[in-house]
C-alpha cells in the first residue's frame, strides 16, 4: 500500500428526493506515472490509482478508469441524483491491489 493515502469526499448532509447534488472527491496519492527517472537515471516504476467508483445504495453513479496522465492527488467532481436516504460508497483501486474506501450518508427529507 502506498503511504499516506487519505480519501476526502464532500457530499451534502441532506437533500430533497430526486435532487441533483455535487460530489467532490480527492485522494492523496503520488500517482507515479512510470515516465520519471530517479537521480541515477533509472525509471521509477508506475504506481497509480487505476480505477475510481462511486455508488449510491448499490447503484452506480460513476466509474472512472484512470491513466498515468491524471495528476497527483486525483480529484473528481461530478453530479448525482439521490432518490432516497442512503449511503454513498466511494472506492479507489490502487495498482498494488489495495482498495481505499470511504462512505458518506445522506438524509433525504
Amino acid at each position: 500500500m502506498a503511504e499516506g493515502v487519505k480519501p476526502r469526499v464532500k457530499v451534502p448532509k441532506s437533500a430533497s428526493a430526486g435532487e441533483t447534488i455535487i460530489i467532490k472527491t480527492l485522494i492523496s496519492h503520488q500517482m507515479e506515472s512510470g515516465q520519471r527517472k530517479d537521480s541515477d537515471g533509472n525509471p521509477i516504476p508506475r504506481s497509480i490509482i487505476n480505477r475510481f467508483t462511486a455508488d449510491f445504495n448499490g447503484q452506480n453513479v460513476i466509474d472512472v478508469t484512470l491513466e498515468p496522465a491524471i495528476s497527483t492527488n486525483p480529484y473528481f467532481e461530478f453530479e448525482a441524483t439521490v432518490p432516497e436516504s442512503g449511503e454513498f460508497q466511494f472506492k479507489w483501486y490502487d495498482d498494488d491491489g489495495s482498495v481505499y474506501e470511504e462512505t458518506k450518508a445522506i438524509e433525504v427529507g
Partner: protein, 138 residues
C-alpha cells in the same frame, strides 16, 4: 533437451514479463480512439470540453467535460508520451454526464474528448491547451 525445474521457471517468468508489456509506447491516438469506438464513425457536437487556454503548470491542468446523454466519455492528450488520460463511465444515478478532474500535460497540445452516446453513436471535440511548464517531470 531436458528442462530442470529452475529453467522452466525462468522461461515462464520471461514469457509472463513479455506478455505484461503490450507495447504501450506505440499506442497512438488513433489506436486509443478505435479501441474506444470500435471503428465506428465519430461525429461532432453535443460534447463540451472545458480546459484553460494557457496552463502555467502542466502537472495539474483542470479539465471539465460534459456530454448530455452520454454513457461514457474518454479523455485523450495527443501530445503526452501515452495519450490515454481517463475514461468516465456514467451509471444510472449520475445526474448529469459531467465530470471534472485534473490532468498532466507534457507540453502544448490538443486535449481530445470522445463521448459514447446512449444510442451507440460517438462524438468528439478537442481543445488546444498551451502549457508553460510540462508535467512529465523530465
Amino acid at each position: 533437451m531436458k528442462l530442470t525445474r529452475r529453467e522452466t521457471l525462468i522461461t515462464a517468468l520471461g514469457a509472463a514479463a513479455a506478455a505484461a508489456i503490450p507495447l504501450p509506447a506505440l499506442a497512438s491516438v488513433e489506436d486509443a480512439v478505435s479501441a474506444f469506438t470500435g471503428g465506428a464513425e465519430v461525429g461532432e457536437g453535443g460534447i463540451d470540453l472545458n480546459a484553460p487556454e494557457i496552463a502555467e503548470n502542466g502537472n495539474t491542468v483542470p479539465i471539465e467535460v460534459s456530454a448530455p446523454g452520454a454513457t461514457a466519455i474518454m479523455l485523450l492528450a495527443a501530445g503526452n508520451p501515452r495519450p490515454d488520460v481517463a475514461t468516465f463511465n456514467f451509471g444510472p444515478l449520475a445526474a448529469s454526464q459531467t465530470a471534472s478532474t485534473r490532468i498532466r500535460l507534457a507540453g502544448t497540445q490538443d486535449v481530445i474528448a470522445i463521448a459514447k452516446m446512449s444510442d451507440g453513436s460517438f462524438v468528439r471535440t478537442s481543445k488546444e491547451v498551451k502549457v508553460t511548464i510540462g508535467g512529465c517531470g523530465g
